[in-house]
Assembly symmetry: C2
DNA sequence: TATCGCATGATTGGATCCAATAGATAGGGA
DNA sequence: TCCCTATCTATTGGATCCAATCATGCGATA
């Protein structure tokens, strides 16, 4: 009667691929800030946390290490990746060159409702005072602005770059917005305007400047890197 | 008398980290062309080939998948990654923006003996008729030109980009050099000249053009993508 | 008192065994 | 003849057990 595949218990999110599930769980925890850079990741702890054995945990750690979110040392252990100021500078330099390219791919494919949604997000960012809410909105804004791209490699790469720098962006946003810096809001509005008028060139140069300026502010910020 | 650590058998390359060793082995095989895009990778086969069990093999596959060299499908298997024309175009677009940046980081740190070595490699490329030898030299040339950079992220990323496109470069080189195209040789000489005169700007724009031209030729080439 | 050596425990790495899934194949019915 | 279904097998995914490694702390010695 029922096919074997239908016997999957419903209280479990489809038995298959626990390794990928664990990786996503750890990734989310790092992005949310639950796991801070430098923090030790013990295999057994993670296994208990995700209801799996250590084998899929180890696979997940390998995946995350290749993504740059985790640092693995042989026979020693795993830590949430902690970046030096130089590394963050490099990553922003890369973002500055990759993301404008991706935005160019994207613009033609953005439906006007999507641009409306971008505008909504920009408005919410302008109004929010909570730094955590802001960085979430900011991430949504930028990644959504890339969603019109029919790309396979670039979007993945951009997402990974955002993931690796997420923690440092959090620190930066808290400080810069407290200091009353609203330049990012302006940039977002300029980007939206350029996108609406289908000016890919203008949009991508605004974006490049936006990223570059963020880096400059981040470099100036004391206490982010000890 | 002897410490426990000294009991390690000598015929084995230091028991530790078989997973990383397997990953490197598969990676090398893909880069050499022993494993072609689209080829199925069976865990048991790989385990036997590298004298390990399936556990480290699976970890290696996860690593390579994150690097883009292997495609994993849940409950189905692993294949050597096969790129579409669109993906290769994206990767070259990324290379065109990343590698000139890396070269800029590198130039100041290149010892003059290193530049001599670059010149040697350029000469060997000009003289060789063997396509396989050429792509090896070409890879050495470019990666060596980045060796003056004191970077952590960029060099890794550049190497991964080279790895992912290696197979398609092989096809391209065989065809274009048979057709008598020696433009790459000229580019290499121009790059060396710019490096010698410490002109980072010139060097990186030559490099960007070099990469862009390669992509254009590759796109024009029939039969690389079926 | 400081330092070196050594034993012990915590943790990672690997192999084997078992479970689950997917693809192939053979059989039956319209 | 074609197609649908059920079974069987090859292969992947996960858990447990064992081995190897590293860090900690204790004690002996100069």
């Amino acid at each position: 009667m029922t096919t074997p595949a239908a016997r999957t218990p419903e209280h479990e999110p489809a038995h298959g691929q626990s390794g990928a599930r664990v990786a996503q769980g750890i990734r989310d925890a790092i992005l949310k800030g639950d796991l801070a850079p430098g923090e030790r990741l013990r295999q057994e702890e993670l296994a208990a946390r995700f209801g799996a054995s250590r084998v899929p945990v180890r696979e997940a750690l390998r995946t995350l290490a290749a993504e740059g979110l985790v640092t693995l040392v042989a026979n020693s252990g795993a830590w949430v990746a902690k970046l030096s100021a130089a590394e963050v500078t490099e990553l922003y330099g890369i973002r500055e060159r990759i993301e404008p390219l991706l935005l160019q791919y994207s613009i033609a494919g953005l439906a006007s409702e999507t641009v409306d949604r971008l505008e909504e997000l920009a408005e919410q960012m302008e109004q929010t005072t909570d730094a955590d809410a802001f960085i979430l909105l900011d991430r949504q804004f930028h990644l959504l602005s890339y969603s019109g791209a029919d790309t396979l490699v670039l979007e993945v790469m951009a997402t990974e770059l955002w993931n690796r720098t997420q923690h440092y962006r959090r620190q930066f946003v808290a400080a810069s917005r407290n200091a009353g810096d609203r330049r990012a809001d302006l940039d977002h509005r300029l980007m939206i305007a350029a996108i609406r008028s289908n000016d890919a060139q203008e949009a991508s140069s605004v974006l490049a400047m936006h990223i570059r300026r963020t880096l400059r502010e981040l470099d100036r910020l004391p206490g982010v890197f000890e």
